[in-house]
């Protein structure tokens, strides 16, 4: 019984990702207990932007505020994760339907850490009116081409968010939801993005959000940087495909760039259908060639922004570039 409780507890933590708990004791005293598991996705490229694959867990050192972290699990692309034992050796994670592998406390769903949960956020506001159907085609192509292990959700937004298709492995369901999208009016991009991140944060394992938008926002109450902070803290890379030209709307372009780079994602400017397809192809490639590690942060008095850095141990690795989120804030939730 005790063991069951233990695993359930850890499972809940995994679901929360970088979440935390607050327990209420008698006499209204407040105890905050922070037990965070950090999920960190990153891509390694050479100086020409080509992906470097095939690296081993022992090739990486993850530091948080300069403190070296012990990596718990490691995965490359959409391959199943491996568990890193204390002696540095690895072993495949035995994931069962009823309670995870019994050691790392990962979520109980057997495939929780296999593949990526991809949330596509499609702008259906007035700004997208002209390119609406071509955008749908490009997104549909992207959904079809996702790795079998990946799950996909399609959300749309104008003033409000709409969950056109919930997270599914069934590509037809996702495309059916996409094709049912209705053109809307105002554009509340950052409101919609925030809500999408909130949904994504509830999903265990690796997840990304892909925003497909024209750019200008005329209705959000949330600032892009507040949304970016949520993505950083939750460890969710944001990929942005703007259907505008980069110089056409420099404000939005800068915001998109910042959102993407600070969360470990990428930004694309793709006005034509062909460019949009290419952007999606690039994202797919990124997902297939990224690494994902998890770790439990070591004791750190810093309750504010914790800087994450990833180093490659070998000399050759020093020439490589690593793209990941720069850090996160361990947040106390109630």
């Amino acid at each position: 019984m005790k063991r069951w409780l233990h695993w359930k507890f850890l499972s809940a933590l995994a679901v929360l990702g970088a979440g935390s708990f607050l327990l209420w004791a008698q006499e209204d005293a407040v105890f905050r207990v922070k037990v965070d598991m950090v999920v960190l996705s990153f891509a390694v490229t050479d100086n020409k932007g080509r992906y470097i694959t095939g690296l081993k867990p022992s090739d990486f050192r993850v530091l948080e505020d300069g403190i070296v972290q012990k990596i718990s699990t490691f995965a490359e692309g959409n391959r199943p994760p491996v568990e890193i034992l204390d002696n540095g050796t690895v072993r495949p994670m035995v994931l069962t339907e009823d309670g995870g592998d019994g050691k790392t406390g990962v979520e109980s769903r057997a495939d929780a850490f296999v593949g990526t949960s991809v949330f596509v956020l499609f702008d259906t506001s007035n700004f997208m009116y002209r390119g609406f159907v071509y955008a749908e085609d490009a997104i549909a192509d992207f959904v079809r081409g996702l790795d079998r292990a990946d799950s996909v959700a399609v959300y749309t937004f104008s003033r409000n968010l709409s969950r056109a298709s919930l997270l599914t492995k069934d590509r037809n369901d996702a495309i059916r939801g996409l094709r049912q999208a209705v053109a809307g009016d105002d554009t509340a991009l950052y409101n919609g993005l925030l809500l999408t991140l909130r949904d994504a944060a509830k999903v265990p394992g690796r997840k990304v959000v892909i925003v497909f938008s024209n750019g200008p926002d005329n209705a959000s109450m949330i600032a892009p940087d507040d949304v970016r902070a949520v993505a950083e803290d939750e460890g969710i890379p944001i990929y942005v495909i703007s259907t505008n030209e980069v110089n056409r709307d420099p404000i939005s372009s800068n915001v998109f760039r910042r959102l993407a780079t600070r969360t470990g994602g990428k930004a694309y400017w793709a006005k034509t259908w062909q460019k949009q397809v290419e952007a999606f192809e690039s994202i797919r490639e990124d997902l297939g060639n990224s690494y994902t590690v998890t770790y439990y942060p070591k004791a750190n008095p810093n309750d504010g922004f914790r800087k994450i850095s990833i180093e490659i141990a070998s000399d050759v690795g020093k020439k490589y570039r690593i793209r990941s989120r720069p850090g996160y804030r361990p947040r106390t939730s109630f």
Partner: protein, 1125 residues
């Protein structure tokens, strides 16, 4: 606890208790708020005595009173237990109740059987219910190509509506959204919305042709010719050869857009092509009824041969006429149709649309406000006697471009002393003349929304005194002075002249009527209403001098007057003190200091408002508490220490007035008070937790720490050592305050001078280093004491944050995501706009590089503004759902601001009983025709004629469920209340209602129920005190948008109260559940237009049904579990 002890004892005694004793004990349990135990007790008694009809009946009646569906089964068992030889009266009663329950459950056969049993037991007066649903009127139909679902998507019509309402909804959308002024000439241009609908119809016709005779789109396989033709029409093509690789892609963007926007199943088609399976799609046209058939509408047109839907879309004036007719009750509409040629009535379609909803012809006579004594004056004004039905309305429509019709409509919507007063023949003429003015064009029906809103407010909210006279705040003299010498210039030249001779109340009312026809803001009416509403709640009306001051300073401080309605015991002197203080604070030259001083003062007043409203401050202390707070800011505030001291003393004063013990943690105590009476520790704890979550997300420095630091500085000044731990706690919190983000790009900065002082306010806090200040001042006692001024901005923010946390709406995101949202509250606003004392507004949304939206202005409108800011984070379940601007914030406000900790189970049961009693009566009227008239008469005082007529038809056709569902919960409550006063004493509902009225009289008075289950109405009643006004729902009104309309909806809380009673939910749990349920209601609304109340009602009931199902499932599971054990 008490209830469960009672139950345990009672359960043990069940075998030996008589039926009466069991019933008495069950009643005691209900009175103690433990209906669940009462149910168990009665259930056990019934189980133990399965052949005892008395115990079974008691159980059945209990279940019926609580709306438990099990009642039907138990009544059936009562009848079985009675057999054919039982007491005839008892059998009749049981059969009658069963028949009604069967009808409400939609089981006509069951109802018919029960009626037969009733008759067999010797009963008379009940008819067998006619079978079949209520008919939609039997109008001829026309075809709209393609499925209704697709057309509805394109035409922006809710799928939840009835097919008979489709053309009315289309007409409304065409009127409001279909046409716009042309850039080049006087003609109207089609909007993009309408162009798409028209293009869709063209595409749908092509598809219909392709579907052929069978009206079925069929594609046998990927390579078939049909596939190619279908794809061409849809605007798609195949990429890749037939087989698993085929995908559909756009080839014609216009067509493909229509295809997806109308919801054509492209994905299914693609899947069929990919797997080479046949694709079939039903493309039968939709038959929609047309009022009186298409010929009536096209009789004066040359293009009669065209499909009716095309004619309708192409003609906005025809749409307006159709819309006007669709709002009338069918009998009246038919009378008008038959009495007035279509070409003539079409000229006044706009008047019919706005002011025809209350038209009603009965037995050939037109209904009119004021009764028999007003018949003559209506005949004079209109030019036809009301007895002449259609002719009366024809003249009314054509009179003065709608001014008289607008007065008629406003007066028809009210009742009682106000209507009697205003329809006095002489007054009616006088007020009409004032409303009409000399120049009648443009009339009030010309704009998209009705324009003379103020008149409707005046007639609806006129405060009548017990002597039948209207209340004029202050005296006529005050109003005369205001009109003659207004500080901001004349309201109206003619009225200024006339005002000099004013002597009586009607002079003032006449002026208000006259001003209500003007398009400009009617400030006198707003003052009149605001001060009337203050007087309405006070034991003593405000003195002339106070009213005079309030009237003269309305323009600057008027939005603050709502505050005083939360504590009617506030004296005139304190109100004047408020105005003096506000004036004095507004004169502080240092903007930062002014912002902090006003922010702190407003935050304290906001907390005072909440605590007064919740009863945490005893009524006799509300005045001294407010006066004490104001005194802290009345004298000159010259630096941040004064602000800090004012804030600190103000909060101590509030806590003391609320009875907080000395030495308690101030933040914990305050949150405790805000969470309301801790009747239910779990709910109370969760409310405190919710508020703490907001404070934490906003990185607030706790009030306790701030006050400890200030006290400690005093101690250090007295020679004590500095407590470093305290300083560290402050410093670590300060470190968490984010950088103020640039609120504007440079281009935006040029356009608005906005945000500068807010940035400074935040920056000032980030730079606070109390440790350094203390070290520098070491040895200088005065400087150490002065250092507390550095804490003033932190104190302001935490005090403001309490109100934000208290009003945090369900589904909020900004409060948890933007850590500077509270700190960013801008008390100064845009330079030159003087927003410090105005309503709270949202500002700054939608700029891509901005710092996020924020609130500005005073805190008086905070509950609404917060809900407004957060509403777009609700996620509609329907992709097309219309979440409209003003209704949603008001619904959220009504779910969050009232608190139910002080409400008793008896009060819940009182509301539940009345709602269910009214439904019972409506259902009974379906089989008891003699009852109908009285019920419909009562209903017609609140429901419009068209809906009353629908209920009548539903009852005639035996569709009791449809009849009951068409009545709003607020109307059901009033219906139950009215009918219970004269109801049959033997009826279990009436018995229970009278027992409650006798045993719990103070809890169930009209005022107590209004306070417990009413809604706040800051616009309509100038008050946040929840109350029931029992008004007809308002239409959309120009100038107020739909806020007043939203405030006139009072059904939600009454519905939730009845639901909670039915499911035995504790009142204190409602503080958590109602916001949650309301969020679900909003997310499920699928409305076609702003006045689509049925859509809201449908959503409300859907959520209620879900809650019922889940709660009963849990209950059954727990009962099954306990049975197993």
């Amino acid at each position: 606890m008490k209830g469960s002890v009672l139950l345990s004892v009672a359960v043990l005694l069940v075998p030996v208790l008589s039926a009466t004793e069991t019933a008495d004990r069950a009643m005691q349990l209900v009175s103690a708020g433990d209906a669940a135990s009462a149910r168990s007790l009665l259930a056990q008694a019934a189980r133990a005595n399965p052949a005892d009809p008395v115990r079974l009946r008691e159980y059945a009646e209990f279940l019926e009173r609580f709306g438990d569906p099990e009642a039907r089964t138990v009544y059936r068992r009562v009848l079985d237990a009675l057999g054919s030889g039982g007491d005839a009266a008892t059998r009749q009663a049981a059969a009658e109740r069963l028949a009604v329950l069967e009808l409400l459950a939609g089981d006509s056969a069951g109802a018919a059987k029960a009626v037969s049993e009733y008759r067999a037991a010797g009963g008379a007066g009940l008819n067998e219910p006619p079978s079949g649903p209520v008919s939609s009127g039997g109008h001829p139909t026309v075809e709209i190509p393609g499925p209704l679902r697709s057309f509805s998507r394109m035409a922006a019509i809710s799928r939840a509506g009835h097919v008979s309402d489709v053309l009315g909804a289309v007409a409304r959308n065409v009127v409001t959204n279909g046409y716009q002024a042309s850039h080049s000439n006087d003609a109207l241009d089609q909007t993009e919305y309408l162009k798409l609908v028209i293009r869709y119809l063209a595409q749908a016709r092509e598809l219909e042709k392709l579907a052929g005779e069978s009206k079925m789109l069929r594609v046998p396989g990927c390579e078939s010719a049909e596939a190619g033709e279908l794809l061409r029409i849809l605007g798609f093509r195949m990429r890749g050869g037939c087989g698993a690789e085929v995908v559909l892609e756009t080839v014609n963007a216009s067509r493909a857009f229509l295809t997806t926007d109308s919801g054509f199943p492209v994905a299914d088609l693609e899947q069929a092509l990919r797997t080479n399976r046949p694709f079939e799609y039903d493309f039968r046209p939709t038959e929609v009824p047309v009022l009186y058939g298409p010929d009536y509408w096209t009789s004066d047109r040359k293009d009669k041969g065209e499909p009716f839907i095309d004619i309708l879309l192409s003609d906005p004036s025809l749409c307006r006429l159709y819309l006007g007719f669709s709002k009338l009750d069918p009998d009246t509409a038919t009378a008008l149709k038959d009495g007035i040629p279509v070409a003539r009535i079409r000229a006044f379609a706009h008047v019919l649309d706005f002011f025809g909803g209350m038209f009603e012809i009965r037995n050939g006579k037109a209904m009119y406000p004021g009764g028999a004594r007003a018949a003559g004056v209506w005949a004079d004004l209109v030019g036809a006697h009301p007895d002449k039905g259609a002719e009366f309305y024809e003249k009314l429509l054509s009179k003065d471009d709608g001014w008289l019709a607008s007065l008629y409509d406003a007066l028809m919507r009210i009742e009682g002393p106000a209507q009697a007063y205003l329809t006095d023949p002489d007054r009616l003429k006088r007020f009409y003349t004032a409303v009409r003015g000399r120049i009648t064009s443009p009339g009030p029906a010309r704009p998209v929304f009705r324009s003379n809103t103020d008149m409707m407010l005046l007639t609806t909210r006129l405060h009548m005194l017990p002597n039948g006279q209207p209340h004029i705040p202050g005296s006529v003299q005050v109003w005369r002075n205001l009109f003659v010498s207004h500080p901001h210039g004349k309201y109206d030249g003619k009225l200024t002249k006339l005002a000099q001779g004013w002597k009586e109340p009607d002079d003032v009312l006449e002026a208000l009527f006259a001003l209500s026809r003007k398009a400009v803001e009617n400030e006198p009416l707003k003052i009149f209403m605001a001060v009337s509403d203050l007087d309405r709640r006070r034991k003593q009306p405000l003195a002339d001098a106070t009213v005079d001051r309030l009237a003269r300073e309305y323009r600057i401080f008027g939005q603050q007057y709502v505050i005083f309605n939360d504590a009617p015991a506030v004296r005139d002197e304190t109100i004047i003190q408020f105005l003096d203080t506000a004036q004095s604070l507004s004169k502080i030259r240092n903007q930062n200091l002014r912002s902090d001083a006003i922010g702190t003062m407003q935050a304290l007043v906001s907390l005072w408002q909440i605590l007064s409203r919740q009863g945490a401050l005893p009524e006799e202390k509300t005045d001294t508490a407010l006066s004490g707070i104001l005194s802290e800011f009345s004298t000159k505030v010259s630096n941040s220490r004064d602000v800090f001291d004012g804030g600190r003393n103000g909060i101590k004063l509030l806590l003391t007035a609320a009875g907080a013990e000395q030495g308690t943690d101030p933040q914990a105590r305050l949150l405790d008070l805000l969470a309301g009476s801790p009747g239910d520790a779990e709910s109370h704890g969760r409310l405190v937790q919710q508020m703490n979550r907001v404070l934490e997300s906003q990185r607030m420095v706790s009030l306790t720490l701030i006050l400890e630091l200030a006290d400690h500085l005093e101690s250090v000044a007295g020679g004590q050592e500095m407590n470093n731990a305290l300083l560290t706690r402050l410093a670590s919190r300060v470190a968490e305050i984010s950088l103020p983000r640039a609120p504007l790009t440079s281009a935006e900065k040029n356009a608005y001078a906005f945000g500068y002082w807010t940035e400074k306010h935040i920056d000032e806090q980030r730079k606070t280093n109390l440790r350094a200040v203390v070290e520098r001042a070491r040895g200088d006692a005065e400087k150490l004491r002065e250092a507390r001024g550095l804490l003033a901005p932190f104190l302001r923010d935490i005090l403001v944050a309490y109100s934000y946390a208290y009003y945090a709406p369900p589904g909020a995101q900004i409060l948890y995501t933007n850590p500077l949202f509270v700190r960013g509250h801008d008390f100064l606003g845009v330079q030159g706009a003087n927003q410090t004392w105005r309503q709270t507004e949202t500002f700054g949304s939608g700029w891509p590089a901005n710092a996020g939206g924020r609130l500005l202005g005073s805190l008086t409108g905070l509950p609404y503004a917060l809900a407004d800011a957060e509403q777009n984070f609700l996620i509609p379940t329907e992709t097309q759902a219309l979440i409209w601007g003003d209704l949603v914030p008001q619904m959220m406000l009504s779910a969050k601001l009232p608190r139910w900790s002080g409400v008793s189970g008896v009060q819940l049961h009182w509301v539940g009983l009345h709602l269910r009693y009214a439904r019972h009566l409506l259902a009974k009227a379906a089989i008891h025709p003699a009852m109908r008239q009285a019920l419909l008469e009562t209903l017609s005082s609140k429901a419009p004629p068209r809906r009353t007529h629908f209920v009548a038809r539903a009852l005639e056709s035996g569709d009791a469920a449809a009849a009951a569902d068409a009545v709003l919960p607020a109307e059901l409550y009033l219906l139950g209340l009215k009918m219970a006063s004269t109801g049959d004493a033997g009826d279990p509902f009436v018995t229970a209602i009278r027992q409650l009225a006798a045993s719990s009289a103070p809890a169930v008075t009209e005022a107590a129920i209004s306070r417990a289950f009413g809604t706040p109405k800051p616009t309509l009643a100038n008050s946040y005190q929840p109350e029931l006004l029992n008004l007809r729902t308002f239409p959309t009104l120009m100038g107020y948008s739909s806020r007043i309309m939203a405030e006139s909806w009072e059904s939600n809380t009454l519905y939730w109260a009845a639901l909670a009673d039915e499911l035995h939910i504790r009142p204190s749990q409602l503080n958590l559940l109602i916001p949650e349920w309301t969020q679900q209601v909003v997310e499920r609304i699928f409305a076609s237009h702003l006045e689509d109340w049925p859509a809201l009602l449908y959503s409300l009931r859907t959520v209620g049904d879900d809650v019922r199902a889940k709660t009963r499932q849990t209950l059954s599971a727990s009962l099954a579990g306990s049975a197993d054990r």
